[in-house]
């Protein structure tokens, strides 16, 4: 059920990463929020790049990151 796997997205303006598993609680996006459920007019909280200019990436986290255990 690959559709169920949480995915990660990278801002092509600055490199900010969004992880569906983690959401962005500090920006009002709950953990588990799917990319498709984020509004189309949402922008990168760091640099303002529009949602359409993010790229899905299949890259694991660096060792020692607090999120590494959920995202091998």
């Amino acid at each position: 059920m690959t559709d169920d796997v949480f995915k990660r997205w990278l801002c092509l303006g600055c490199g900010f990463s969004y992880d569906e598993a983690l959401g962005l609680p500090e920006h009002g996006i709950a953990p588990g929020t799917r990319w498709r459920d984020i509004p189309v007019d949402w922008c990168c909280p760091d640099c303002g790049t529009p949602k359409s200019r993010f790229e899905m990436v299949e890259i694991g986290y660096a060792a020692g990151q607090p999120v590494a255990d959920i995202a091998a």
């Binding site: 092509l12 600055c14 490199g15 990463s17 760091d46 790229e55 990436v57 694991g60 660096a62 990151q65």
Partner: protein, 248 residues
């Protein structure tokens, strides 16, 4: 199966970013400063070209005009950002604590990882010209790193020298990628062997001309080659060429 694409100089995206109005917070040095950027791949408002090549997302041929011209201090994550200075003097500042002045031949690699700010600044009257390269790393939120290096065109004349990557003497980065440079002052033939057929090489002509894998490339033309064990570049005289090899 071999593959390639050719990108002529004039086919690249072009932006002129001024230091006044809506982009004043982005580009410093108002009122006169401005940056020109020729983009080989889609970036910011230029979205009509290729999205990238392998792990490369940005290849910008940029000029910072007028004293004080800068990309103001701003944050990145994840991307490995490199500048290779061609003309003038670049002052690079970052929140790892580096304040560096880079001259032609100098370059740096800044891996933004879990987060870091940088500023790119020309403090001189003369334009500062540099190639800006962004690569996606092999891990997210790595510890940020910064290192600089120098390409000695005299010592390295007429051979391909690795600037960035895992080769001895090169600046390491957290990605299966390599940046190399060839400065030539005589006719020559150079075989380039990628690490594997799963690697591609983006070849960009800074100055002069080169026949790359059978294609004549003039100044600022480029070609990507992949799926081969090796390919040949021929110079007929003076040439300055960058090679960016990346896992595909």
């Amino acid at each position: 199966m071999s593959n390639s694409f050719v990108l002529r100089a004039e086919e690249r995206g072009f932006d002129k970013i001024v230091s006044t109005g809506a982009t004043a917070a982005y580009v410093g040095g108002h009122p006169d400063a401005f940056i020109t950027r020729w983009s080989s791949f889609n970036f910011h408002d230029y979205q009509d070209g290729r999205p990238g090549f392998g792990r490369i997302r940005v290849f910008g041929d940029e000029t910072f005009n007028s004293p004080g011209c800068s990309y103001s201090m701003h944050r990145h994550h994840n991307f490995i950002i490199s500048a290779i200075v061609l003309e003038g003097k670049l002052t690079h500042l970052n929140t790892l604590g580096n304040i560096d002045e880079l001259l032609p031949g100098d370059f740096y690699a800044f891996s933004a990882g879990s987060g870091g700010f940088h500023e790119e600044l020309n403090m001189q009257s003369e334009p500062m010209k540099a190639i800006y390269l962004w690569l996606i790393p092999d891990r997210l939120l790595l510890p940020p790193t910064y290192a600089r290096g120098h390409f000695d065109a005299t010592a390295g004349m007429n051979r391909i020298t690795t600037l960035i990557g895992s080769d001895e003497g090169a600046v390491p980065i957290p990605q299966d990628a390599r940046v190399a440079r060839l400065v030539s002052d005589a006719p020559g033939t150079y075989q380039y062997e990628p690490r594997s057929r799963g690697h591609g090489v983006y070849v960009f002509v800074v100055e002069g001309e080169v026949v790359c894998d059978g294609t004549l490339l003039a100044r600022r033309d480029s070609k990507a080659v992949w799926g081969v064990d090796e390919f040949v570049c021929r110079t007929s005289g003076g040439a300055d060429v960058l090679f960016v090899e990346t896992i595909l």
